[in-house]
């Protein structure tokens, strides 16, 4: 009786052990990945909260001792960073809105209508998303210069639309494909015109997708460096990435301040992304990536 139950339990354990082993391995893998992905973020944050003497220790200490917000005070009180945050917010918001208007209408048209040259259009839209930014850099710089739009919000917004609009178009196309067509047809049978069906049925249904796509466009614009660095040379219109990059040139890298400014630039986009990532992932799964 006992020997039999012992054999049974041994068998049970033998069968179970590889599974438990696999589970442990899987967790080790996940934790290792999390450390790889999040340690730089942790280090940025911790470094921004350390007083001078703890920032520069050999060997560096993993866990923070005393915490201070003095670097944040310095950045927000004595530098132009607050102004740069405002500039970034204006530019990113405007880029987002313009791209959304272009992309929502365009994606709806491309998914619901058929006309000659559609494949060419789709292909150009995809191509425009993968064009090297440096290919557009000089033509846009010279043209915007001719129009007197250097050091203006409008100039940078135009350049940011070159990548946010194709991105939004591509993602929204896949969102629109997932909206059941019978709903639209029913609305049209009920006496709504095509425009009515679009405004009353498609827009409300696609709204979460549209908003999250737009917010991702906002993030792309917020993070951009190349165009902004060329177009914004005056103090009044610089964006956050340009401002942080200049910390390094101006001073002999004051790490505490730079880390505080970087954290301030990162936290809003990470929070935004945490809110919308569900839709982003769903958009990818709905086939945005397959085109």
């Amino acid at each position: 009786m006992t020997s039999r139950s012992m054999i049974a339990s041994t068998l049970h354990r033998l069968r179970l052990r590889p599974r438990v082993g696999l589970l442990v391995l899987r967790w080790i893998g996940v934790v290792a990945l999390l450390v790889f992905a999040l340690f730089p973020c942790y280090w940025m944050l911790v470094s921004s909260l350390r007083p001078q003497q703890e920032l520069f220790t050999v060997p560096p200490r993993l866990l923070p001792g005393t915490l201070t917000i003095e670097w944040y005070e310095v950045v927000l009180r004595t530098t132009r960073m607050p102004r740069y945050f405002l500039n970034s917010a204006v530019i990113s918001t405007a880029s987002m809105i313009v791209s959304l208007v272009i992309a929502t209408l365009g994606a709806y048209s491309l998914t619901r209508f058929r006309y000659p040259g559609q494949q060419v259009l789709l292909l150009s839209a995809l191509t425009s998303y993968v064009l090297p930014p440096v290919l557009l850099l000089l033509p846009l710089y010279l043209t915007l210069g001719m129009l007197g739009l250097i050091n203006s919000y409008a100039g940078v917004i135009v350049t940011h639309i070159t990548f946010t609009a194709p991105f939004c178009l591509w993602l929204l196309r896949s969102f629109f494909k997932t909206i059941p067509l019978d709903l639209e047809e029913a609305a049209m049978v009920d006496g709504n015109g095509r425009l009515g069906a679009f405004v009353r049925i498609v827009l409300p249904l696609a709204l979460p997708g549209i908003l999250s796509t737009g917010l991702f466009g906002f993030i792309l614009s917020w993070n951009e460096y190349l165009f902004a660095s060329v177009l914004l040379t005056g103090e009044a219109r610089k964006t956050v990435p340009i401002g942080i990059a200049e910390f390094i040139v101006q001073f002999d890298i004051r790490w505490g301040e730079v880390m505080a400014a970087s954290s301030l630039a990162t936290i809003p986009v990470v929070i935004l992304f945490a809110l919308i990532q569900r839709h982003f992932v769903r958009g990818l799964m709905a086939g945005a990536i397959k085109g």
Partner: protein, 318 residues
């Protein structure tokens, strides 16, 4: 966290084409419907003409000009810039750096992304949270990414430099970004960190899309998990791998911000890839014509890479 909702949509990729046909018949058959379609398309058309076709054409034009921005004079020189570039060792070195940066980055991102997706494709608790957290590097601004990694690799106070020195991989009190040999590998690591979440989430979505029945059938046939992976999982991922390769290759190849902010192309040009070369030629040396030609050759190279991929894998896969 959200795995319930996203999981259910994963198994329904796209809508059947029948519905589209129905709507096309009901809607755009009438002239009014078609007019709305064209009207909606107008902003996209304006965008494509003004912000894509026009700048690209302008760039081609510029590349045939000897344009001195400081003096404001410009004259036609034909293919001179292209000929000059093709004989310029700096161009070839930058192209080589571009290829190393791209191949290393894409390879690392896809491998790490696949590994992460396989680890996360599992109904365990906390997987949705882990997935969300792993996506974070993808949205950290390039400037913050570059600065933080430079700080971690700081010669005296960098935590990674310290650990690498302890492990004997690097001499003490040095930064890889100051070394001609190590600057590129270190930068590629940062590129992988930044880009792997995209590959991960795409692979993860693809894994969710594999029908359970195929695994069940294999299990009935007595296949082990390794066989399952080899015979079912991998073939299902072939197509998405190709798409990812193309997308990530273009992204890495075109990506200026991260590498420039990490190294500015240094030390001694060891990490100067084509976008940095264009940037320096234009806004460092103000040789706009030559920079435009460099950008043109870069776009051609990108196009060539795509053609190569498609040739190797067959165009129907894309």
């Amino acid at each position: 966290m959200h795995s319930g909702t996203t999981g259910s949509t994963a198994r329904r990729p796209g809508r059947p084409a029948v519905g589209t046909l129905l709507l096309v018949r009901a809607g755009s058959g009438s002239p009014r419907g078609n007019r709305l379609g064209v009207l909606f398309l107008l902003p996209t058309l304006v965008f494509l003409v003004v912000l894509v076709v026009y700048p690209v054409a302008y760039n081609v034009y510029l590349s045939f000009q000897d344009y001195n921005y400081l003096l404001g004079v410009s004259r036609f020189v034909g293919l001179q810039h292209y000929v000059h570039l093709l004989h310029d060792p700096v161009f070839w070195r930058s192209l080589g750096n571009s290829l190393v940066w791209t191949l290393g980055g894409v390879g690392g991102q896809l491998l790490l992304g696949l590994a992460a997706a396989l680890l996360l494709d599992w109904p365990g608790r906390g997987m949705a949270l882990a997935r969300t957290l792993l996506l974070i590097p993808y949205v950290v601004p390039a400037i913050a990414t570059a600065i933080t990694w430079r700080w971690m690799f700081n010669d005296f106070y960098g935590i990674l430099s310290f650990f690498l020195a302890v492990l004997g991989i690097m001499p003490a009190q040095t930064s890889p970004f100051a070394s001609v040999e190590l600057a590129m590998p270190a930068s590629i690591c940062v590129g992988i960190w930044r880009g792997f979440p995209f590959a991960m989430i795409v692979y993860w979505a693809a894994l969710r899309g594999i029908p359970d029945e195929e695994y069940e059938a294999a299990r009935v046939d007595g296949a082990g998990s390794l066989q399952e992976f080899w015979n079912i999982t991998l073939p299902h991922l072939k197509h998405i791998t190709l798409v990812l390769m193309v997308l990530r290759t273009l992204w890495m190849f075109n990506y200026f911000d991260l590498l420039y902010l990490l190294t500015k192309g240094g030390p001694a040009g060891a990490t100067q890839h084509l976008p940095i070369l264009v940037y320096i030629t234009s806004f460092g040396l103000f040789r706009f014509g030559e920079a435009a030609a460099t950008a043109g050759l870069m776009a051609l190279t990108a196009g060539l890479i795509i053609v190569l991929y498609v040739k190797v894998h067959g165009s129907k896969d894309l």
